[in-house]
């Protein structure tokens, strides 16, 4: 279609011409013009998706850094609220355009382009979720956050539509529970992040909303997936756009989460919070054990498994030190010991190195 429109590549064509006379009308050349435009269109789309993925990675990292501050003595709620705002922002400004790019495509075709960003994003969201609710975020919940109604898409992409879109985004909380106006609103209610103060109007009915959501996610997550599939297969394809989150990508993101937990655990000791390492260690062990049971299913997974083991050991050693030396040193001094001797091999001298490798 746009084959002849791509004059930018005229140089190539001239070169071809000078080498041997190209008969522009030959069926072979005609066919190749078609292939050219098709390949170009696909490569362009791929590049656009890579760019979006890169932006998602950068912004997710910022969220993670922000959440690391929970380890310090800053107001935890404040930090979490800020993080949520940023996560919502990533969804709106990055994942929505990405969903539009992927609309009508085979998402797996572009998986390699957006997988890095997606994994980093999952890491950020699961980190947030853990700090907020002390449990692992579910795939269903992550997936629901990345589903957008086409209406939102139109509002967001049109210039000056941002404010209008914001008002629609806050509607699900504000509108009466019994009567959701559209499919997307129902989904928003179940979002794992919506439980906290995403918008001011929502805070009043937040607790009940949250608990019902959580319970539901546990009970019928598999049913929901099936239902969503059905919905996707039939009518709602025209109403929603989505960035699919394959289970493997989700798990790879979770594997990265453990690195962040390790960092936070070590940092929180220096900040005087002696419970977090124990708690995080237990949680990491659950993840570690689960990953062990999967065996060598995917190359990427087993690569991350190794890092996971290192992180877990560091936290375990830190917990050990806490236990042993905790009896002889007063708490406030123990914190000093940890922050001063961060080069002590026992509980992870090279924390920073590992952290750098994670980023």
């Amino acid at each position: 279609m746009a084959g002849r429109g791509r004059r930018a590549h005229g140089a190539d064509r001239n070169r071809a011409k000078s080498k041997c006379k190209v008969d522009e009308n030959s069926p072979v050349i005609q066919a190749f013009y078609g292939y050219q435009s098709e390949l170009d269109a696909r490569h362009d789309k791929y590049e656009r998706i890579v760019k979006l993925s890169r932006d998602i990675t950068i912004e997710s990292k910022r969220v993670i850094f922000l959440l690391q501050r929970c380890a310090g003595n800053e107001d935890q709620e404040e930090v979490l609220t800020q993080a949520l705002t940023r996560i919502k922002d990533i969804q709106k400004t990055r994942f929505l355009p990405l969903a539009l790019e992927l609309d009508g495509e085979d998402h797996y075709q572009f998986m390699r382009a957006y997988s890095p960003g997606l994994q980093e994003y999952i890491e950020a969201v699961s980190f947030y979720h853990y700090l907020k609710y002390s449990q692992l975020v579910s795939l269903t919940a992550v997936q629901q956050d990345l589903q957008f109604s086409r209406q939102d898409a139109i509002l967001h992409t049109s210039p000056g539509g941002a404010s209008g879109a914001d008002s629609t985004a806050s509607q699900p909380g504000a509108s009466p529970q019994g009567k959701p106006a559209g499919g997307s609103e129902k989904k928003d209610d179940k979002s794992p992040l919506n439980g906290s103060s995403g918008s001011g109007t929502q805070t009043s009915d937040q607790p009940s909303n949250k608990t019902s959501t959580e319970a539901k996610a546990v009970v019928d997550s598999s049913e929901e997936v099936a239902a969503k599939k059905r919905r996707n297969d039939t009518d709602s394809r025209s109403e929603t756009v989505v960035v699919s989150v394959p289970p493997m990508e989700f798990m790879l993101g979770i594997a990265d989460l453990t690195g962040e937990l390790m960092r936070t655990a070590i940092m929180s000791v220096s900040a005087g919070n002696l419970d977090f390492p124990i708690q995080a260690c237990k949680f990491m062990r659950v993840i570690h054990d689960a990953f062990m049971s999967y065996g060598n299913t995917a190359r990427e997974l087993s690569k991350k498994m190794w890092t996971l083991q290192q992180s877990l050991q560091k936290v375990e050693n830190a917990c050990y030190t806490l236990q042993v030396r905790g009896s002889e040193i007063p708490k406030h001094m123990l914190a000093e010991v940890f922050s001063a001797s961060s080069s002590d091999g026992l509980y992870g001298g090279d924390v920073d190195d590992t952290a750098a490798e994670h980023l």
């Binding site: 072979v28 797996y108 546990v218 394959p246 659950v286």
Partner: protein
């Protein structure tokens, strides 16, 4: 509680995934077998000159191509909707080889470049992703490049078999194919690597033509006037 559920869900996913991949691999293995049979039969093209001989070869492999169509139908059934690219590494190689064999067959019969649609029809697959199990454009182009190197070999062997006019026509054909590929803006991928070796095929055939020409071994009628098919 929830955490455990997340992991058991994933375990289920892995199990189902494993099973599906195994089924796909089995289907692909069948296709590979047929592709090998076709390839073996078509190698006879190097042994003897003459259009009748080539047409006979093409006739012989026709039943094998219908077998391919059946086998692709079986494979296509196993792929969940919009997950072609999740698994396509498994059959990428065989579909490239079959695209090559189909394009070669078209060339031997008609001495022209196979169209994408007609190649897809021969294999029983679609051209557009939206229409179902399809042949990726890259795979089709890879098939054409493999055909090009096979034809450069054919040019040499045709001379030995007593058909000195053949290299001239192959040279012209490859020249056109080459200028076609030059139109594409290739990324630094497999296709690009394969394309880079196309010039060696072209060169080889050109040198055969050169050898024949300076010895006046090229029949006067070779080239455009040669009856096609």
């Amino acid at each position: 509680m929830e955490t455990a559920a997340v992991f058991s869900d994933f375990q289920e996913h892995l199990d189902a995934d494993h099973e599906l991949k195994e089924e796909i691999r089995n289907a692909v293995r069948e296709l590979e077998q047929t592709a090998r049979e076709i390839q073996t039969s078509m190698q006879a093209m190097h042994q003897q000159a003459g259009n009748e001989h080539l047409l006979k070869i093409c006739e012989n492999v026709e039943p094998l191509f219908s077998k391919v169509r059946e086998q692709f139908a079986v494979l296509a059934e196993k792929i969940p909707a919009s997950q072609y690219y999740r698994f396509n590494d498994i059959w990428r190689f065989v579909i490239q080889r079959l695209a090559y064999l189909a394009a070669l067959k078209v060339y031997l019969m008609h001495e022209r470049l196979a169209e994408r649609q007609e190649t897809a029809d021969m294999l029983g697959v679609k051209v557009r992703r939206e229409d179902g199990f399809h042949m990726d454009l890259d795979d089709f182009l890879m098939g054409l490049l493999t055909m090009a190197s096979e034809l450069s070999r054919f040019a040499v062997n045709a001379v030995v078999a007593g058909d000195p006019g053949r290299p001239v026509r192959i040279s012209k054909f490859l020249g056109e194919l080459d200028s076609g590929f030059r139109l594409l803006n290739l990324k630094n991928d497999m296709l690009r690597k394969r394309f880079d070796s196309l010039k060696y095929s072209v060169q080889k055939v050109e040198s055969v033509v050169y050898d024949l020409t300076i010895r006046r071994l090229v029949p006067a009628s070779s080239g455009d006037n040669e009856p096609k098919g």
